[in-house]
């Protein structure tokens, strides 16, 4: 890869960057404050890796800024961001050929680190074990519906499926996960 010096970078006119991004810095900051937490959590749940999550978050916003797409509404903008994040997470999954990694019990923030929450910790460990057996689409749909509280229309836009399909995807995913959770709890 060709090295680029700082002076070369400085020669690029600021106007060129304004044209390169679809919004100015102030608008971006406001959008980031409204959306970044959800996207971080979504990516973290998909990858189980904080560093990879930060890289993918950066890439998500970079691609969003460079995209020449007009957004009708805030919801459309959010859904577009989630679509980018979802595609990046899928690519990362494929390129690393990795299964979704369960967060280690020693990781900060893992439920097991909170001794007062044994029951909750056990439930969450069961959930993570069971989720590995679901498809990416099923996991995403369940997460968006029940952790994010998204509507079927929003889920459809984010997953790139028809709204009428969301109900069936959720039904199948719920049924499979509920059976797996009942199995996990019987074992534990």
């Amino acid at each position: 890869m060709q090295d680029i010096t700082l002076s070369e970078l400085e020669q690029i006119q600021p106007q060129a960057l304004d044209d390169a991004f679809q919004m100015d810095q102030e608008t971006f900051h406001a959008l980031y404050e409204r959306t970044a937490r959800s996207i971080w959590v979504y990516l973290w749940r998909r990858t189980g890796d904080s560093q990879l999550t930060e890289d993918l978050l950066q890439e998500t916003y970079y691609r969003f800024l460079r995209a020449r797409v007009s957004h009708e509404s805030e919801a459309h903008r959010r859904n577009y961001l989630f679509r980018i994040a979802s595609n990046l997470a899928n690519d990362a999954y494929r390129s690393h050929h990795q299964h979704v990694r369960l967060p280690e019990e020693s990781e900060p923030g893992h439920p097991a680190m909170n001794p007062d929450a044994d029951m909750q910790s056990q439930r969450q460990t069961d959930l993570h074990r069971a989720l590995v057996k679901l498809s990416n689409r099923q996991r995403d749909a369940l997460w968006l519906a029940y952790a994010e509280g998204s509507s079927h229309v929003e889920i459809a836009e984010r997953l790139g499926v028809k709204t009428s399909s969301v109900k069936l995807i959720l039904f199948r995913a719920r049924r499979k996960l509920a059976r797996l959770l009942r199995g996990e709890r019987r074992h534990s």
Partner: protein, 159 residues
């Protein structure tokens, strides 16, 4: 036909959001959940995700908006520099390839003349008088330019 939804789903979700699941559910809803296959699956799944989401949101470690913008800006500048440099590289390659082709052509021409014991003018007259040789001559020049371009590309390209 398989039932994929229940009209009481929202009541179950509301109860979970209000932290009334599973112990403080009212009797009527509790009885419904026990008897409804949809809500029986929905309740534990939605509850598990609500808990998991809450835990996940508590541990978010977000880079600042300023940092994300700055990194994006640097990357956009790098791409702009590369894009600006691309036509120059193309012109350099074509010019260099033509130069190499001319040099190789002159060498081949002189070599061929010496081999056949002809002057350059006699050699050109001989080639031009043969209808089959002239296209071959132009083809040889084209091949030289192509090979020169590839060679230059390989030398200049660092990727």
């Amino acid at each position: 036909m398989i039932r994929t939804g229940c009209e009481r789903e929202q009541d179950v979700l509301d109860a979970i959001a209000a932290d009334r699941w599973p112990d403080r559910l009212n009797d009527e809803l509790s009885t419904h959940v026990a008897g409804c296959t949809i809500c029986r699956d929905l309740a534990p799944v939605a509850h598990a995700f609500a808990e998991d989401g809450q835990t996940a949101f508590e541990q978010v470690r977000l880079p600042s908006a300023g940092l994300v913008w700055w990194r994006a800006e640097i990357r956009a500048r790098q791409q702009a520099v590369r894009a600006a440099g691309r036509p120059i590289t193309f012109v350099q390659v074509v010019t260099g390839a033509c130069g190499i082709a001319v040099a190789l052509g002159l060498l081949a021409w002189a070599g061929l003349g010496a081999l056949l014991g002809m002057s350059t003018r006699e050699l050109w007259v001989a080639i031009a008088s043969q209808p089959l040789l002239l296209p071959l001559f132009y083809l040889a020049i084209g091949v030289l330019i192509l090979l020169g371009s590839i060679a230059l590309y390989l030398v200049l390209s660092d990727e």
